[in-house]
Homo-oligomer: 193 residues x 2
């Protein structure tokens, strides 16, 4: 097991309905030392890629993306979940369905901050059905930019998102891939990587 898998075993909580709660260290309370380990690991896995920007989506992707970015020395852009009056009209838009919140959102990125010269690393905390990720891929495509890779903290390997995106040929690196969970005894099975 790597450092993130060990942490999930130690502090993750398995609930009925294939819910894995990692809110004590990943997406409500955030362990910045752990995020720095993740940053080092993504830096290693995407070594040699000409990444000049990190793209993520609010809210829980932002913290990881910023700490990862401090290892790549590039800026972060985060996709916003609804039209704000402080965003110019000139935006890329994608529709994203949220598994957690059971709703559809439009996410937007200002055209000022993403264009055909950008070589993007996409970072997010979770990958399940892949809707959020497909929204971010759509936004990079609209901009004419290049996706150099995708870095995910926790992938639910028993859902379809990861398989679909790998089939498209993207370098998708998930630090922990959960193959199964058992709420009765609180155990988690990880995919061998």
């Amino acid at each position: 097991m790597n450092f993130l898998e060990e942490r999930i075993v130690k502090d993750g909580i398995v609930k009925e309905g294939n819910i894995l709660k990692v809110d004590s260290f990943l997406n409500h309370q955030m362990d910045i030392d752990l995020f720095n380990q993740m940053g080092e690991e993504f830096k290693r896995r995407f070594e040699g890629k000409p990444i000049n920007k990190i793209l993520t989506i609010e809210a829980s992707g932002i913290g990881i993306a910023c700490i990862v970015a401090s290892h790549f020395h590039v800026p972060v852009v985060f996709a916003k979940k609804s039209q704000s009056i402080n965003i110019d009209g000139d935006v890329y838009v994608a529709e994203v369905e949220s598994f957690t919140h059971k709703c559809k959102n439009q996410v937007i990125v200002s055209k000022k901050f993403l264009d055909e010269n950008d070589h993007v690393l996409i970072i997010d905390d979770f990958l399940a059905n892949g809707c959020a990720l497909q929204g971010l891929l759509s936004i990079v495509a609209q901009a004419g930019g290049t996706v150099e890779g995708i870095g995910i903290a926790v992938e639910k390997g028993f859902q379809q998102g990861g398989r679909i995106i790998r089939n498209f040929g993207y370098q998708l690196e998930s630090l922990a891939i959960v193959e199964g969970m058992d709420a009765a005894n609180g155990t988690v099975q990880f995919r061998e990587q």
Copy 2:
């Protein structure tokens, strides 16, 4: 002028209605090297305080809070803007009015991540009327924790939030305090600190 004031003069955009757009480096695209400078400066200003946790609010506070936290070596907790099905029922709740989005939100923090032993530094990107900040102060009070200080990137000094909160005796440190803006010629006046 300090490093943040210089950056606002260089890249901030003044719009009619006292709107200062800093989305190219602070709250849509995020300059992580700048955030690290902010982290160093907050570390200096809150030197000697027994801070063991940083509290912020989604979404644009999270990036700054995480980078600042990497200088304090403490975890970050962010207040969430609406009830998620993945949050336990046992939460602190505060009501927050958003100037930007012209709406009221409930923000919540799980009781698991804040209690009477916590010495909290509150971090946010903007302070204007102070509603978000008062919500976070209310949450720390509900937890019985201690607010050791408040670190803000940009304060609109001509709005009431900063004055109210300083009158309550908090150490509120804003890296840039905007006293006035002129949309016609694009200039910003800062308070001497």
